[in-house]
């Protein structure tokens, strides 16, 4: 499995102690280097197991999809083979037209639709932000290796939320959870094992909320006196919301939490983030106009005398140009992700249902024929697959 995230730059959470450590202490051995937060992140299961390149990710989904397609086709083939003698031409045609497995894109649509559902339900249950984030993450990871044709996504919505509660230390007993979620114990627990197994027993998530908090503290330090605190509070809340939305996309597989965070702040206020990054990592502030530059230096010198040097110096050779490129790519992915309409989701869910239950498709056809035979056109209201609302 490839562990490569394209051009991961050294972004450290700026408020962590390890970044301050330099090679200055004479008592330390010459090759002394403290492990950075970046090194630690590379050891996390989120990075080891759940980070991909775009191609990796696509490949993985393709494999899952292909495997399920083969299974469905085999079942369909058997079904047709068994009933061959009794099937009419009409029925055969209907089967061929409507009972076909989902494509990778269709699966993806359904997963996206239900991820949103997970978010809505978890929010409805008044769960803390981190629990909601973990629910979404678990749900999406489950369907990287499992097809919606093998596991109906609606059967995993509550299971993932319930496991996320426990994993994030927000314990609710299964009975009270079932009551609140209008589900039942058996349904919630049925796939819990399968879920944990599919998650490769990797349960710790690094969501971008902590980096967001860290960056906001740091922005206020670096741009001290130049940002309106009330305004900062407002965009903090907006960014937090956007992070949750970002978790509904593939972005989390492609970029690190701080990269996603910077991209989101940039989408909210490009000027703020470029001023901050320039001050923090820029070699010199050439992009600013003369006036701004003067003013900035003056402000900083007045408010934090003597500290300007330390604060603006880069602690671990982050190349601003490279960093900006990565953030740009991240913004690109975020802007391109679109949500799935209910109509599309319904269509795919119906297709998913029929390819797994061809006999129901035939029953439906029969009823339709009977109804048109009766000529009063009253279609029976029963047996339509539902996308849960």
């Amino acid at each position: 499995m490839s562990r490569e995230i394209s051009q991961t730059p050294n972004i450290d959470n700026s408020n962590s102690p390890s970044t301050v450590t330099e090679n200055e202490d004479p008592k330390k051995p010459p090759n002394y280097k403290r492990i950075s937060d970046d090194d630690l992140y590379r050891h996390s299961s989120q990075y080891r197991i759940w980070s991909f390149t775009k191609d990796n990710l696509r490949e993985r989904r393709q494999q899952t999809n292909q495997r399920a397609i083969a299974l469905i086709n085999e079942k369909l083939g058997k079904f047709i083979e068994e009933k061959k003698s009794t099937l009419t031409e009409d029925e055969l045609q209907t089967l061929r037209a409507k009972a076909s497995p989902l494509s990778m894109e269709e699966e993806f649509q359904l997963i996206n639709f239900y991820s949103k559902k997970v978010q809505v339900i978890a929010q409805h249950l008044n769960l803390p932000t981190e629990v909601i984030a973990t629910s979404i993450t678990f749900f999406r990871r489950f369907f990287l290796d499992n097809s919606v044709m093998e596991f109906d996504p609606k059967n995993l919505v509550h299971t993932t939320i319930f496991l996320a509660c426990k994993s994030e230390n927000y314990f609710i007993s299964v009975d009270s959870f079932a009551k609140k979620a209008k589900s039942n114990r058996e349904a919630i627990l049925k796939y819990e094992f399968k879920l944990v197994e599919s998650l490769k027993f990797s349960l710790l998530n690094h969501h971008p909320y902590k980096p967001l908090h860290g960056f906001f503290l740091d922005i206020q330090t670096i741009l001290y006196g130049k940002v309106d605190l009330k305004y900062m509070g407002q965009i903090y809340d907006r960014c937090k919301k956007k992070i949750t939305d970002a978790l509904l996309t593939d972005i989390v597989y492609l970029f690190t939490p701080p990269q996603i965070t910077l991209a989101i702040i940039l989408m909210e206020d490009e000027q703020l983030i470029s001023r901050y990054l320039e001050m923090k990592f820029g070699k010199d502030i050439t992009n600013n106009t003369e006036d701004e530059k003067k003013e900035e230096n003056k402000d900083v010198n007045e408010t934090k005398p003597g500290k300007t040097e330390d604060k603006t110096k880069t602690p671990n050779d982050i190349e601003l140009d490279k960093l900006l490129v990565v953030i740009g790519q991240c913004v690109d992915v975020l802007e391109k992700s679109e949500s799935v309409t209910t109509e599309d989701a319904k269509r795919v869910a119906a297709k998913n249902y029929y390819c797994q239950n061809p006999s129901i498709l035939l029953q439906k056809l029969k009823r339709k024929l009977e109804a048109s035979g009766d000529d009063n056109g009253s279609e029976s209201p029963s047996k339509k697959p539902k996308v849960e609302q």
Partner: protein, 308 residues
């Protein structure tokens, strides 16, 4: 990840949520321990302790933290395959036939601090450090184990339960029922373990939660607002007997073999105020580890009972 690669040969322990077996990893012939989580007995699905253990051990890879080798499912049970660790520090401390030296103690403390330092820098609190959870490998390495009570470091406004850590190793902020606490609770526990290693009997053996406060403050002094601002605003504080902190001389008398820097380290790990208590970095950089004797080579420490 498959059950067929492991054998379970001997049942060696049974806890509230797991049974531990000794066995072998067939592919390598190595000894292993299998912790079988009794999932079927829990009506709320996978047990929280099991979830915590899996969650945190997956992230931790360090010579002084127990190694989670594999996980597999079998017969509706979750099985954690762990490295084989034949003994623990509690057994060693209690076995009066084992003799150990100040250099051995230093070695164990150093390894414990390194392990916990790694846990902390991964933003994890252990919350149940005690000699019984410091396991010892065949080559003498200390391994921090049992992450069933661990949790992520809380955010600034998160509320926590203070009902953590085995009583004798519980930091004063926990005794006071603090709803917010952090890494310092683990350092306190290590401080108590350090004292226990030197005394070879439990240092603060409270009989119940109330008595634990009494025992703790009698030994180390009742905290006052001066050393720990607003400590008196904890509920229950005003009922406390006020004891003075022990003088250096009193500590010297109690810990006869301890050097001055050993006492300094212990005092700073057992600082009442969690904000001024040393963190693991400060502990690791303390004078105690720089002065003689140098810590024993773990492989050379003889912890086999000399009885026979």
């Amino acid at each position: 990840m498959s059950e067929s690669n492991y054998t379970k040969e001997k049942k060696v322990g049974e806890g509230t949520y797991a049974v531990v077996y000794l066995g072998k990893q067939l592919s390598s012939g190595n000894n292993i321990a299998v912790k079988e989580i009794k999932t079927s007995e829990f009506k709320d699905g996978l047990d929280m302790s099991a979830i915590r253990e899996v969650k945190y051990l997956q992230e931790l890879n360090h010579p002084n933290v127990i190694n989670l080798i594999d996980i597999f499912m079998a017969y509706d049970n979750l099985n954690l395959v762990l490295e084989f660790l034949p003994t623990d520090l509690e057994v060693v401390i209690k076995d009066k036939n084992i003799l150990f030296t100040p250099a051995d103690i230093k070695s164990w403390l150093l390894m414990t601090l390194r392990g916990v330092y790694h846990v902390h820098r991964n933003f994890i609190l252990h919350r149940d450090l005690k000699p019984n959870n410091l396991l010892i490998s065949p080559d003498g390495l200390i391994k921090v184990a049992d992450f069933g009570l661990a949790r992520a470091v809380p955010g600034p406004r998160e509320m926590l339960t203070s009902n953590v850590v085995t009583r004798w190793y519980r930091a004063p902020e926990l005794l006071f029922g603090a709803k917010h606490y952090t890494y310092a609770v683990d350092v306190w526990s290590i401080g108590v373990i350090f004292a226990e290693l030197m005394l070879r009997i439990p240092y603060l053996p409270g009989q119940d939660d109330m008595n634990q406060m009494e025992v703790t403050f009698r030994a180390l002094g009742t905290p006052t607002d001066k050393q720990w601002p607003e400590v008196s605003s904890f509920p229950g504080y005003n009922k406390l007997q006020i004891y003075p902190p022990p003088s250096r001389d009193e500590l010297r008398k109690r810990f006869i073999a301890a050097t001055e820097s050993a006492l300094t380290l212990m005092e700073n790990m057992l600082m009442m105020n969690p904000h001024t208590r040393w963190d693991t970095t400060q502990c690791l950089e303390s004078e105690y580890f720089k002065e003689l004797p140098t810590p024993s080579d773990p492989a050379q420490i003889n912890i086999l009972s000399q009885k026979a």
